[in-house]
């Protein structure tokens, strides 16, 4: 059964059809939630909540990209989770200085027992990206996750977070600029293919 047929069946209350859509998009929604929330448990909760909300509000879907529609529900779930987190703050997992400030340097990535080559694996790259994403305001982070990690176009991102197209362009430019600076700070800790030069062609 193709996607539109599954959506129509799910809109008639066919839970099995909806669950097939869940299996198709659950990785995308979970990854989006994970990048925004930076916590696996919270991301899983937000993803589950998003699918539940999506099933309940399925009749409000009026065509267009179903993925973008689902990403809107998970983004809303993430914002709810962040608001809850703000009301009940938890201890950050990143190390703190003696003064209690969070460490800005990427020293937490370094593992003295591992070789430099081992440090340049995918996990390190992921940690570096996540660290830089966490330094962004939530609005910027959401835009860059949707556009650059999930691959939505500007119109779809505007539809997901319900802001004008101009705002998307502006937020994305600012986010990319700050991410470039952050990733440059990682320097040698990034795999060679991903090192950012300060000059073109460096």
């Amino acid at each position: 059964m193709d996607e539109p047929a599954l959506i129509r069946a799910a809109q008639r209350g066919d839970l099995e059809a909806f669950n097939r859509l869940v299996l198709t998009y659950q990785d995308a929604l979970f990854n989006t939630a994970l990048r925004i929330l930076s916590d696996e448990e919270l991301a899983a909760d937000a993803t589950q909540e998003a699918f539940l909300s999506a099933f309940r509000a399925l009749n409000s879907y009026r065509g267009g990209s179903f993925k973008a529609w689902l990403l809107r529900t998970v983004t809303n779930a993430c914002y709810d989770e962040l608001r809850r987190k703000k009301r009940r703050p938890t201890t950050p997992l990143e190390p703190e200085t003696e003064d209690g400030d969070e460490m800005e340097s990427p020293r937490w990535l370094a593992d003295p027992s591992a070789s430099p080559e081992e440090q340049f694996d995918q996990a390190d790259l992921e940690h570096a990206i996540q660290h830089c994403l966490d330094g962004l305001p939530t609005d910027f982070k959401t835009v860059v996750v949707l556009a650059d990690i999930q691959g939505l176009d500007y119109t779809e991102v505007a539809h997901v977070i319900r802001v004008p197209l101009g705002t998307i362009k502006s937020r994305l430019a600012r986010a990319r600029l700050r991410l470039r600076e952050c990733l440059q700070a990682f320097g040698e800790l990034l795999p060679a293919a991903f090192r950012l030069g300060k000059e073109r062609g460096a």
């Binding site: 669950n19 869940v22 990854n31 790259l125 691959g151 430019a173 991903f194 073109r200």
Partner: protein, 222 residues
């Protein structure tokens, strides 16, 4: 080297995503060729975007499929269920009424005044000698015989007096009692009350269903 404005950065970012109009795109391309700072910034933004696009994708830690319970889906209710529920309510009501009637009846007639023992009739309509003797014996043995219930009455009659003739000295005849009983109004009242209650319930139900139907499909004004 002149410093780039945020507007330049914004245009470079949109240029990367192919979001600029043709004229603007051509103008920016000309500038990039002549401005190394602009070109370096574009390169940096491009690399940052490339890194983000290659962010490792995680697999979902579990399946997020919904169960019927989570989705709040309930099995369809059979059509007869409302009828059965009403029948249960009516049955319960009648049960309570019946129970109440029985209890009230017991309180009303359980302590009825003792009746005089029926006298066996002799020749000519008068009481026979045997029966008179039996009656005297009964009077002698105490008033308990007169006030006793039919069962205890039979048990407390001495064997000496329990001759075949004394069988006529029986507990008070209930036929006489029945003829003197007033019409039991409770037997009329409770079913009547039940009928009124059920009727009211049906009326309320009908009114609420009508109101709900009006609400979900309001009449269109011409």
């Amino acid at each position: 080297m002149k410093t780039l404005t945020f507007h330049d950065i914004e245009r470079l970012s949109a240029f990367l995503d192919g979001q600029l109009r043709q004229a603007e795109k051509t103008r920016l391309e000309t500038r990039i060729k002549s401005d190394p700072e602009l070109a370096a910034t574009l390169d940096g933004l491009h690399q940052a975007r490339s890194i983000l696009r290659r962010t490792p994708k995680r697999r979902a830690p579990r399946n997020f499929t919904l169960t019927p319970k989570m989705a709040g889906i309930r099995p369809p209710v059979p059509r007869a269920v409302p009828v059965f529920s009403w029948a249960s309510a009516v049955a319960a009501l009648f049960f309570i009424c019946t129970l109440g009637t029985n209890l009230l009846g017991q309180f009303s007639f359980g302590a009825a005044a003792p009746m005089m023992a029926a006298q066996p009739m002799g020749v000519g309509g008068g009481p026979s000698d045997e029966s008179l003797a039996a009656t005297e014996a009964a009077v002698d043995s105490g008033n308990a015989y007169l006030t006793a219930t039919p069962e205890t009455y039979a048990m407390t009659i001495p064997e000496a007096t329990a001759t075949p003739d004394t069988r006529l000295v029986q507990p008070p005849e209930t036929s006489q009692e029945k003829t003197r009983q007033p019409v039991n109004l409770w037997l009329v009242f409770w079913p009547g009350l039940a009928a009124v209650l059920v009727g009211s319930a049906l009326l309320i139900r009908w009114a609420s269903i009508r109101a709900f139907r009006r609400k979900i499909s309001p009449r269109q004004k011409p």
